[in-house]
Symmetry: D2
Amino acid sequence: MDSLRRLEELFAHFPGIGPRQARRFVYYLLGKSPASIKELTELIADVRASSVECTRCHRFFVSKNKGISACSICTDQSRDQASLMIVARDSDFESVEKSGAYRGLYFILGGTVPILDKEPERRIRLMELSSRLGEAGSPVAEIILSLNTTPDGENTAEIVRERVQSLKPGMKLTVLGRGLSTGAELEYVDSDTIRNALENRH
Amino acid sequence: MDSLRRLEELFAHFPGIGPRQARRFVYYLLGKSPASIKELTELIADVRASSVECTRCHRFFVSKNKGISACSICTDQSRDQASLMIVARDSDFESVEKSGAYRGLYFILGGTVPILDKEPERRIRLMELSSRLGEAGSPVAEIILSLNTTPDGENTAEIVRERVQSLKPGMKLTVLGRGLSTGAELEYVDSDTIRNALENRH
Amino acid sequence: MDSLRRLEELFAHFPGIGPRQARRFVYYLLGKSPASIKELTELIADVRASSVECTRCHRFFVSKNKGISACSICTDQSRDQASLMIVARDSDFESVEKSGAYRGLYFILGGTVPILDKEPERRIRLMELSSRLGEAGSPVAEIILSLNTTPDGENTAEIVRERVQSLKPGMKLTVLGRGLSTGAELEYVDSDTIRNALENRH
Amino acid sequence: MDSLRRLEELFAHFPGIGPRQARRFVYYLLGKSPASIKELTELIADVRASSVECTRCHRFFVSKNKGISACSICTDQSRDQASLMIVARDSDFESVEKSGAYRGLYFILGGTVPILDKEPERRIRLMELSSRLGEAGSPVAEIILSLNTTPDGENTAEIVRERVQSLKPGMKLTVLGRGLSTGAELEYVDSDTIRNALENRH
């Protein structure tokens, strides 16, 4: 395969990108100045090289200082050390953090476990979660499972719930509330959501 | 205006129908047999003539027996007489009823009140609600406000809440739970819904 | 089936209407005043009763005068009597007429013929077309086939073409030009349309 | 600005990419292996470094041989040297070439000229077009303008048409046919396209 087709192929693996748009990316780059290309490739290499996986929450962050191993949130003492929210991916973390509604700590699973998958350890960071929960003198008092309400998300929640309960029996374990989203019109809401909204009325 | 244009105009007022589709309806009817037209017009007249507004919940239902004034749900003693769900429209009632999650009674407001509207009584059945709640010996122990989580819906909820509280101080008054709908992906959920889901975690 | 369900069923046969919207139509009508219902049903009956199928072009039009048998276009001597455009449906006629680009006469087939259908006479007005083309002293000098460029439309065009050629050998028979539509972006145009646009370049 | 935000910014300039997807690209890359990152950045640099702008048609192509200055189509003697199709962008060229309907040569303008733009030379390769058409002994007998049928495309076509006519008076100059695209339904076709389809009937 020539390098042009191979580059198209790599772009086609970017999230949300199909073969057609991948090809447009290549043409876009062919028309850029050498200086722009240099900036782009150096930034990609640089960002990746200076990215660090936080040893506590396992999200990726960029640090010039190679000695740093925990992210700005995990080391922020003003955040609530008693709350640990478990999310599937960095993008879920971003979404919750952007809401401004949560002031505790996070743990990133790194993915979800499809239903019937036999080896969840290969999909999500269960061992790392054990280590995190096993930290001596941990002040964590509540674990919040924040996973998609999709079949994969609910399967993953079940697996994590079992693991937490065997590691920390008695630990308070919550899930995000189910119900009407903002802007919902009752006429178009699915029966399952109506049932949840009714159970969680207050 | 000729009768053809006038009929188009009437169809264009049907819910969700624009001028183009209204015109297609007219052409569709022009091509139907006289027998089909007769069936349609008779059914429309018949259904409307035999439709009754339930004196308790105010939803429309069809009854051949003019003596009947309350609908099959309001007269069903196996339903939970202690729960009264307030919805805006018949279509919202249909949506909740289809979910199978609710076994109590309903009250149909007949609409919503736009923000800043000065005369809510002209928009929704506040007087009829007063009568319903004022029934002697009413077993209603909980009122569930099931309104859209849109600005109009929330404004309406506020107006109904005030009315209920002045009529029945101390009555248990709940709203549908807010949070993640079924199938929600955290990455795409709005901040307001994340905040609600977090507050309503359990 | 009760009359309410039957009315829903009839509305669900209206063009572009599904069961959900059909039900909304019924609820919409239940809430209308008796006077509105009377106007609607009388208009439907009236429009259908006074609709006439033009004996020449076979489109439906409304006329209070039962003696009239040809529509305002077929009897308009200022229109080009030498051009006859064949379309599938009244709605196609409306679309062409709205463009203001055509000043000749029309013939409405009344439908299209699906591929492999064995009895095109039952689907479209082939016999009526024979009568129309066989009018003594007909000034028609060009027949324009204006059918959808879909498989059914092209199949229908082929059937009509054969019929016209056997009835009127040597008659000028044209089809609408194929090519780029207004607003087309070359990057997203399908290969078949590019081929046609290239063949029809001018 | 830190390098992570800057990389997001660069991705947000990729065709069709907004800030949200740009951020997802960065997270995607943070999770890739160092070897994958190396392959990607080397390919980008490599493809750009070995990309050549064809001296005749001005499209970009990849060549390991720096001595080559004309692309495989411009040097393919089996293609029709008498036809020159002018397109706006490489992606338009790709679309036409994919159709398999054209066997002549191309010229890429490099963009379009917005209406009222005063300096078309800065937007499109008018000087290069002059050189191409001025080649001694050029066998070009027909120039095909293949531009979007959008306002910008039509403005650009007008500018190119004037230039060609002043450079090569009498040269055959065609545009792609206008009319119904494949799959068009007459009922939904705009009036302008119906007018064109009618004018270009055949």
